[in-house]
């Protein structure tokens, strides 16, 4: 212990001297080298940061409500430059305010990542809307391709309880009632879309109780 500390102290004054010597010997770095370095840094950091920020979901302006995330401004004129760039890069056409609103979930109500080997129960109500759809997407963002050939459900198809509430079961194996089969990819994403909803105008006021919860059941299917 004391030995190591002693050598570290002894080495310290020598280290800067040896590090500086090669630069001094070759003279000052020529200006073109520094300019080339600055340019390379600008391109690398500029492109790298732009790629990183634009590659996935919309980077700013999200509203998180329970497990669901929505971007209330992307369907309006107030969409931020990042959202516009992401839209252009992906070829997406966002839902307009007044047309509908989409909520994306990649975690369950407890905050754990959605795992296709588990089963989930989604319910029991949605905000007011003329129609809504619930869709399962695989890890690549495509509607889940399953044996059953269906990846989503609409509010018109769903079986409801007497009080109007509903429950959708997500799993790889067949379930009675409202059942959506999970894809073979490891992770998946859920999107709830409300069409013709008064919510779009003031989604910041939404709270988690009016959106369906996503409860995880047993895992390892």
């Amino acid at each position: 212990m004391s030995d190591a500390a002693g050598t570290a102290v002894a080495a310290q004054p020598a280290a800067p001297r040896t590090a500086r010597r090669p630069i001094r010997r070759s003279g000052r770095l020529p200006a073109p080298v520094l300019v080339a370095y600055a340019m390379a840094l600008a391109l690398l950091v500029g492109f790298g940061s732009a790629y990183w920020v634009l590659k996935g979901e919309y980077p700013v302006g999200s509203v998180r409500i329970g497990p669901w995330t929505t971007w209330p401004k992307i369907g309006s004129r107030e969409a931020d430059p990042y959202a516009r760039a992401v839209v252009a890069r992906s070829g997406d056409v966002p839902l307009g305010v007044g047309e509908g609103l989409a909520f994306v979930a990649s975690v369950d109500s407890a905050g754990r990542d959605l795992d296709a080997t588990c089963s989930y129960r989604v319910g029991s109500m949605t905000p007011q809307a003329r129609y809504w759809t619930l869709t399962v997407y695989d890890a690549d963002g495509r509607p889940a391709r399953t044996d059953l050939g269906r990846s989503g459900m609409t509010s018109a198809e769903i079986l409801r309880r007497d009080d109007g509430s509903f429950l959708v079961e997500l799993s790889r194996t067949v379930r009675p009632g409202n059942w959506l089969q999970l894809p073979s990819s490891a992770s998946f994403t859920l999107i709830l879309r409300l069409y013709d909803t008064p919510v779009a105008a003031g989604s910041a006021a939404l709270d988690a109780r009016v959106l369906p919860s996503i409860e995880r059941g047993e895992c390892g299917a």
């Binding site: 600055a38 500029g46 516009r84 760039a85 056409v93 509607p143």
Partner: protein, 189 residues
């Protein structure tokens, strides 16, 4: 200046330029990119009918994360030769139109609830074209057109028709494809 100082200065210059490059890319992508929805549909500007982008339940579409219950169609427009009239008959299915300016996001959206006698009829025009139409207008007989001002000359109208049950899919696709988007000569509106 010391060697370290010069190096730090070069790094700072590099980072400031990096910020400019970053901003340039973020603002430039909507105009320069070739993968955005408008660029993909540019070839259909002259078409008089909407072009199907995604059939309900289809997986062979370039739309990211499409809703399988929706039929999505589009009319790309270029207002250089005058306003464009969008007309659609509303049916039993939910239908909505959203207006996307090129590189500028959604500037207007309307659903079939706004249809008058089963018809949705809108005219997309630029601000100068609106001024011209207003100047030309007869005060005793004002136009009944619903006029939508597009912030850019080029843009897209996206038509979404919902097949709430799989059996409606064929009808939803037909309805999405049946929207007419015709260029109107200047002065006709």
């Amino acid at each position: 200046m010391s060697e370290t100082g010069r190096f730090v200065l070069a790094t700072l210059c590099g980072l400031v330029l990096a910020a400019l490059v970053h901003i340039g890319i973020v603002f430039g992508i909507p105009w320069l990119g070739e993968r955005d929805a408008f660029s993909r549909l540019r070839s259909t500007v002259a078409a008089e009918r909407s072009e199907l982008v995604a059939a309900p339940g289809a997986t062979d579409t370039w739309l990211p994360r499409p809703d399988p219950a929706l039929a999505v169609a589009a009319c790309a427009y270029d207002l250089r030769d005058g306003p464009v009239r969008i007309t659609t008959k509303s049916g039993p299915l939910f239908e909505s139109l959203s207006f996307h300016s090129r590189a500028g996001g959604v500037f207007f959206a309307v659903t079939d609830r706004a249809a008058v006698r089963g018809l949705l009829d809108l005219v997309v025009m630029t601000r100068p074209q609106l001024d011209e139409a207003l100047a030309r207008e007869d005060e005793d007989e004002p136009s009944r057109d619903v006029r939508v001002v597009s912030p850019t000359r080029e843009g897209l109208v996206i038509i979404r028709v919902l097949a709430s049950q799989p059996s409606w899919r064929g009808q939803a696709e037909e309805a999405a494809k049946a929207v007419s988007c015709t260029s109107e000569p200047v002065g006709a509106t």
